[in-house]
Subunit: 186 residues, 2 copies
């Protein structure tokens, strides 16, 4: 069983015109995804933003919940897993140092993209049977920049229900993907 890492990437992302942008921190992304990460035993959840003012906001939010009232103490173990970093490279280095081996890098996107695909079932099996850590990347805005997706080892297919609508929030997409990869099956 390899450790699982996730990143919520605010740069480099695409906007609706396919331009490369830095997106803003959305506070509820951090708390929701931290809670999902804790549920599915994600070793570390990286929040990636190059803007120091945004890093300050994210860190303030994390510190708030880490010191929160006992009534909402259930949030502490979740927020403990979050780390704010300036860029993806910093998070790769951090995983590499912790694990002693480069993680398998897996990209996600709401669009059907060309590239090396891996199914949810196959990745689930790989996490269960292989010791190599897996690092899942999630974009914000209109998705990860192609320069990031070009670097991944695998791409997970988009999430579909019975319809052709696939405009899930990133909070919902992360929850669903973690459940597909690590949900307890009875």
């Amino acid at each position: 069983m390899g450790n699982l890492y996730i990143a919520l990437v605010h740069y480099p992302c695409r906007d609706r015109h396919d331009k490369i942008v830095t997106t803003m921190i959305t506070p509820i992304d951090i708390t929701d995804i931290a809670r999902s990460a804790c549920t599915y035993d994600v070793a570390q959840f990286f929040v990636v933003t190059p803007l120091s003012s945004q890093q300050v906001i994210a860190q303030k939010l994390i510190d708030f919940w880490l010191k929160a009232e006992p009534d909402v103490a259930y949030r502490r173990p979740a927020l403990h897993r979050v780390r704010v970093v300036d860029r993806l490279e910093t998070s790769f280095q951090s995983v590499l140092e912790r694990e002693g081996v480069a993680p398998l890098l897996v990209g996600t996107d709401a669009r059907e993209l060309p590239g090396p695909r891996i199914s949810y079932e196959k990745l689930r099996e790989l996490i269960e049977t292989d010791d190599r850590p897996v690092y899942l990347l999630f974009g914000t805005g209109w998705g990860l920049a192609l320069e990031v997706l070009d670097r991944v080892d695998y791409l997970l297919p988009p999430i579909w229900g019975p319809t052709e609508y696939n405009h899930l929030s990133v909070r919902a997409a992360v929850a669903i993907i973690l459940d597909r990869l690590r949900g307890r099956r009875s």
Copy 2:
């Protein structure tokens, strides 16, 4: 294939001391869950609150997105599925009138509760093979009041990952449950 309905219930819910309370509308619940509902072809998403001031807030939010800029028009079909009602009974009546038959009522809770259980696989199969509509109830605060859970036909088990932590946001829980019941499998 029966139609699927969901409700986000703000009354009657439990607080952390197991007292019955009315919880406040959380705007992001409505947009996130509407987007998940649209992805997984939920026929109607009921937001249940007895407080008229809260109904006004919820409806304003829905109307805002229904009239939103073309750039975020992808939210319209999602928000079209949301209906604000004063109490659960009103939503039951609405489903009954639309379907001509009472829906199978299914409760959810983060705790392991006694009662008539149904597995995700079994309910998925039932939705696919049976014409009877299914109505899933989600609580807010610390969960649905027992007087609601006592009325359901079935209870879905709590969502678990590999850990003992189960403090998902309701937004994440709805997304995961809809994916387990209606996610496209390839």
